[in-house]
Symmetry: C2
Subunit: 205 residues, 2 copies
DNA sequence: GCCTGTTTTGACCAACTGGTAAAACCGACG
DNA sequence: CGTCGGTTTTACCAGTTGGTCAAAACAGGC
């Protein structure tokens, strides 16, 4: 047994952090099966057995990453509440989600890999925690529509479209850059303007 | 050397087709590295050496799939031309793209896997063939805007958003179904209505 | 029923994979 | 100094992986 509950040493904190960062890099770039423990260990500056001293298995590293991610990922949606101007609330959610794509593209790709491959490890979370939160927020949106504060629209698909549009810039990053030409271009400023226009036109009654 | 140019026998046609179909199934579900030749062979009803009699390597099967895919994938965009009503042209493209997500989700996921993982095998195609086509179509959209036929919008990001929104229903299929509840729900009819509304409101001057 | 080219198989291999065991190392503390 | 917990390394293993090869089985035209 490793990492006895005694005390968490400085070395432990540093190494587990390095491992998780390296694992994020490798898993997000190759998927679970495509990633190897050796790759992760090398990226973390450790030997394979040393890495396995901190985490019992490859599976455990992946699980640790996904666990930490789920919450962070849903926080912006939680923050979209009934108070204030509805359009501004949606635009705020879009903006925050787009910022996450810009600042945490690896996390987005980790998630995308998991979902595309059938969500074998977080399926339950999707139809549990996630569905509940989305249903709840869809209800909020429905109220806004009923009160005539935003134009009529399908709330669930509105949320899907926010996910699709914002995550696209992280997940399909290579394609976006290839199509826009030089790699020196930062697509995000224009993406934000575009998405603000899109959702404003979509939701203005 | 296999598959000598002589004549393509019935068996060859049947087996290569079975292999490509099986490979599509496996690659789209696990990514390139995550897929094994044995899996593909079993799915195609062949032994591994027998499969390798038809294709020289795992790499070659994957390449054959991607080659065939690129054209099919871009066809709907090519079909979006200057003639006719601009809004109808865009909506037609959206509709066709959404149908592809519904009818060929495996192809969509194969593509998504490749791009998310950094497009190691079709990078050149993206900044070549793809970029050219997109630039050309962006020019068409720019004309529509100049002529006041549709509202002002960034053409490149408009195309990105069509990709993102339509492919989302294939690539994130599991999530969509999980959130919408029962698996017996078909999200596509509502998705089409939603996307038509979205792009109509976005582009109507 | 024989012959020629095609297809399939079984046995095999070297490299890689996730994971283990045990010994060696290291710094703190008595 | 010694020793004790935490840490790292070395050596190793069994299973899997992509791929090869020679020989066997099979087709179909004569």
């Amino acid at each position: 047994m490793q990492r006895p509950a005694r005390t968490i040493t400085r070395i432990q904190r540093k190494n587990t952090a390095a491992i998780l960062d390296a694992a994020l890099e490798v898993f997000s770039a190759h998927g679970f099966r495509g990633a190897t423990v050796d790759q992760i260990a090398k990226a973390a500056g450790l030997s394979k057995p040393n890495l396995l001293y901190y985490f019992p298995s490859k599976e455990a590293i992946h699980a640790a990453l996904l666990d930490g991610l789920m919450e962070t990922w849903l926080d912006p949606l939680r923050a979209m509440d009934e108070a204030g101007d509805p359009l501004e609330a949606v635009l705020g959610y879009v903006r925050r989600k787009l910022e996450m794509s810009r600042d945490f593209p690896r996390e987005s790709r980790l998630f995308a890999n998991e979902i595309i491959q059938g969500a074998p490890r977080i399926g339950p979370n999707l139809s549990g925690e996630l569905k509940e939160l989305v249903d709840q927020k869809a209800e909020v949106i429905r109220h806004w529509i009923e009160d005539g504060k935003i134009a009529e629209i399908n709330p669930h698909h509105l949320i899907f479209s926010i996910w699709a549009l914002t995550q696209h810039y992280a997940d399909f990053d290579v394609q976006v850059h290839a199509v826009l030409g030089g790699d020196h271009v930062d697509p995000y400023p224009e993406a934000q303007r575009y998405l603000e226009t899109l959702f404003t036109r979509l939701l203005t009654p």
